[in-house]
Symmetry: C2
Subunit: 110 residues, 2 copies
Amino acid sequence: MGITKSEIFTNQQNEIATLAKVFGHPARVAILQHLFKINTCVCGDLVNVIGLAQPTISQHLKELKNVGLIKGTIEGTRVCYCIDTDNWLNMKSIMIKFLDQDYSETEECC
Amino acid sequence: MGITKSEIFTNQQNEIATLAKVFGHPARVAILQHLFKINTCVCGDLVNVIGLAQPTISQHLKELKNVGLIKGTIEGTRVCYCIDTDNWLNMKSIMIKFLDQDYSETEECC
DNA sequence: TTTATTTATTGCAATATTACGATTAATGAT
DNA sequence: ATCATTAATCGTAATATTGCAATAAATAAA
């Protein structure tokens, strides 16, 4: 149905999925990489850098803001974006915990 | 349009997005966590564990197989699933490289 | 061979996502 | 006040995803 049955999963599972979903589009990956590369706020030249229409970029930025990974400050007619460091670190710890689950490589069953 | 313009992004960006998308659903997160927890192959009791209908689970398993994170071996009428360790480690290194990008915390611009 | 068990596939309905043109809102410049 | 610039929002089309009932396929058991 295109609708996810979040009720039947744990908060942790839903949180991991919500965060991962944000990375699940190359435009958002590219936006984040650019913000890291520039390493200061970017005043909305992302439309040129990425190559998608302005409303599309704006929509992707909104999703990144919704999960808190970036923040934007208004500067005149422009909006300056940058990584929200605290939230990024928090997200990173959640994701790495998931990626780093233990498995014994001794058990080779299939 | 629901269609992603993959052509305009790098292979790396598309790869990160493809992997992340798989984690972007709590059912697939739950399946992977269960496979890690059990730590041997699971002979399809995932339907009971997760709580979604059998065709739905089968579909999620297919997506996990498509990106190579799990493998399934036929064992009679059953199919036994487990983590594909090599591919998991490879995925982990790609994701961690992305999550671990450098930023100087000195620059506080917004 | 018939029946039971298990998993994959098909088909479909409901909802979500992606993308963009057109428009709006907000500020700056003239 | 008018115009230019920038970013958000609205509306909409195209496509993707999620979920499941029904069915098929494949093997095991009787």
